[in-house]
Assembly symmetry: D2
Homo-oligomer: 158 residues x 4
Amino acid sequence: MDQPATQSSFSPRDPEWERRCRESFARQHYMRFIGGALTALAPGRCSVEVALKPELTQQRGFLHGGVTAALADTAAGFAAYSLMPAGSSPLTVEFKINLMAPAVGERFVATGQVVRGGRLLSIVDTEVFAVSGGRSKPIAKMLATLICMEGTPDRAAD
Amino acid sequence: MDQPATQSSFSPRDPEWERRCRESFARQHYMRFIGGALTALAPGRCSVEVALKPELTQQRGFLHGGVTAALADTAAGFAAYSLMPAGSSPLTVEFKINLMAPAVGERFVATGQVVRGGRLLSIVDTEVFAVSGGRSKPIAKMLATLICMEGTPDRAAD
Amino acid sequence: MDQPATQSSFSPRDPEWERRCRESFARQHYMRFIGGALTALAPGRCSVEVALKPELTQQRGFLHGGVTAALADTAAGFAAYSLMPAGSSPLTVEFKINLMAPAVGERFVATGQVVRGGRLLSIVDTEVFAVSGGRSKPIAKMLATLICMEGTPDRAAD
Amino acid sequence: MDQPATQSSFSPRDPEWERRCRESFARQHYMRFIGGALTALAPGRCSVEVALKPELTQQRGFLHGGVTAALADTAAGFAAYSLMPAGSSPLTVEFKINLMAPAVGERFVATGQVVRGGRLLSIVDTEVFAVSGGRSKPIAKMLATLICMEGTPDRAAD
């Protein structure tokens, strides 16, 4: 397959990568809906977080597994997108997530790290932590595959 | 491991399975938040659906992958929970989802089917369809593992 | 993404698909090594099987999970390859497998069925059964993603 | 769920953990069959490796994906087993593996690291590297879930 970037050599292919990622995140209605924020961004790495709110919980009062997955998927997506060329768009092919511990906390932080950044496919390792009173505990781990759609601007058609 | 029920022999262990599932679904704040509805329920099988709304979309106007995953995870959870004994609670150990096609449609239906219903672990196969103008198209497929927490009522402590 | 074939409309892109698949299988040294046989082949569908032998077991005498995975991965690969164009080659991007029951049996049959056959990506659902005395029992389920490498003949360079 | 050990605090529950792991590995017929060796072992961590041989290859001359998966599954299994109590046995519930690059090399090393070591469930992160002429390159990444079977000695019945 294509020659992937290795973890120690991630350099963005688009000098405008950071502006492009932040603008794309700002267009994610769903992230705004749940109160998600992009809190860290570097080439091949991204953190997204959300505060606990009653409307994001399941029947036992923990963060819904689907919200944990959405946070992790979003962090993975922008970690991969940061390395993609101008004019392209990331698409999640698939992901697998282990919900390792009950999602109990004041806020939740997902951090995605690209482990293979190929021209076509990216593989991203993402961890989610629950934070309470300054203490942080791992609650989930995701392994995801994304594809780079070239010539597909990352926005809805006007 | 424990002797699993096979797909053709699913019979609920709790005569109150249906009431218990419907009450538990009603306590899912997050499902209410996104407008999710439980639209079909049988022993070992469950469908959950949601209508497209702008606040559930990602930057390109499709249903956010995290919402697709939440729908599928919820359908899988209630499919498994329908076969669990009274006084227990389902917990998603992990799931893997393939997002097979862009989530374009008027509404989205996830249907989970238990493929192995053991005393401790359940394995559930779930498909998600996008529906538009009466036509239905598969957009995602999930394979999930759940665990039965006995002696753990499926609700938040009062 | 590309327009995928749906499950009801699988027709091979290469009239020589069957010969090509059988020749490729015959070149799999590892399948010969473990005694694997291609026992069924249709467009988008493939079965591979192996008989139990002591050298394929783990410490408790069951088929090793890695052999179960290899069987399923091979069935998935040829199910996908049957739909790919001439001159191409399938590559497994990733798979997830649930080992649902102990792999106890006389022989083991993996059957892969393409659920999405795109120009670039294929998604294959595979089940593995243990067969003993004419009775068959499901022991594993796999969900896999494969990519079509065009212009890459499916053989080692001479 | 049960209180898991965190990555920094792994201490074996069985003082005989190392002997028990090495004896169990020695009973794996399949590892002997492919020439696999246990090359590193610590509480919560294990490496297994194999040299390239023609009989372990697929049709293009690379290590068969099923062998890569078997190596990674075995490393994950012993990483988890090292933390389990006496008289128990590890069982792989499921795993997901990304085959990130062609498996080209002289030998292949899989290293599993427990990321959550619960009383019942263990989650293990495993990487596989190809080694050639002293250089090492990542070729696969696995995320696996294992269950501890208490009261089930890790061996075939006599």
